[in-house]
Symmetry: C2
């Protein structure tokens, strides 16, 4: 006799398996649970889990929509104002995936990322890289809050190879983050 699980538990594990690896076929699942392929299909029906191709299609559509809507990773947050070599403002709303699940407090590096990418964007040069930074997280930012970062170019070195940019981030009128960035400006022909 082949070892088998009761229906309820099998269906639970099936849901989990597909959740963990959405690219699994019914055939693989059948072998996984030592049942016939029809049972797997009945299970999927009852749990209303779509077939592999449908799952892939949904994921593809999702990512396609994302690609359309977000020029992801270019600048973290939406740039509202930008005066090259002078100043810039960006807005960043703290979403679910930016926070610690327990405390709902935003992870520091997201706040940093907003400030850093704005500091880089404000520099009027093809290639600009962060050289160093001195930062302070003044108060924690929580889920749902809108973080407004304001960047000011404080100085540009004589050879125009370095710039100092100060970034102040606020929620409402409360300062939450403060940073001083040194940005390398790399001139390329």
């Amino acid at each position: 006799m082949i070892e088998r699980l009761p229906k309820k538990i099998r269906q639970q594990q099936l849901t989990e398996s597909i959740g963990q690896n959405p690219f699994i076929t019914d055939d693989e699942l059948m072998r996984m649970f030592n049942v016939s392929i029809q049972t797997i299909r009945l299970d999927r029906m009852e749990l209303s889990i779509p077939e592999l191709r449908e799952r892939m299609k949904l994921m593809a559509e999702q990512s396609y929509d994302q690609v359309r809507s977000l020029p992801l990773h270019e600048v973290i947050g939406d740039v509202i104002d930008l005066q090259l070599d002078k100043s810039g403002i960006s807005l960043f709303e703290i979403a679910d995936h930016h926070v610690f699940s327990r405390t709902k407090i935003a992870r520091g590096h997201h706040i940093f990322a907003q400030a850093n990418s704005l500091a880089v964007a404000v520099i009027n040069e093809e290639v600009a890289l962060t050289a160093s930074a001195d930062i302070r997280f003044v108060r924690s930012v929580v889920l749902g809050e809108k973080c407004i970062a304001k960047a000011y170019v404080r100085s540009i070195s004589k050879g125009r190879t370095k710039a100092k940019v100060e970034v102040l981030s606020y929620v409402g009128d409360e300062l939450v983050f403060q940073g001083e960035f040194v940005i390398f400006r790399i001139h390329k022909e």
Copy 2:
């Protein structure tokens, strides 16, 4: 006679059409260009454009990998070693979506994120938040490089409310990033 385009132009437009809407079937394309379905398939072959299902699969995989690697991870990078309140090591491979598209140089905030999240993870407390940091990007990291961050807890304040963590990130044996983090430890019951 039905209006038809020369092969070259048709293939150009075909590439564009699929680029704009990857969810289009050969059948729809056939009607679009007033040619037989075989012609469409020959065109796809010549242009090495995969079939609809393959395209969807690729997109699905892409989005799945992104979801896995980006927001869901508690720590950016893979933790290889962790001795609470002492030290930790994490490894982070620079992928396509971490770099500036032109230069293939990693955006600073990803390098920072690895270091910051490791600095937080190494602290033996339920809730730990970055208070401030002093960082330096020693040399730029490029696409494909594996960044190894090493975190060392340098001191813990008397009330155990603050810790100083130094993080050094290397590619091979070259130092690429250096940071000193002050982490708040928040004790909760």
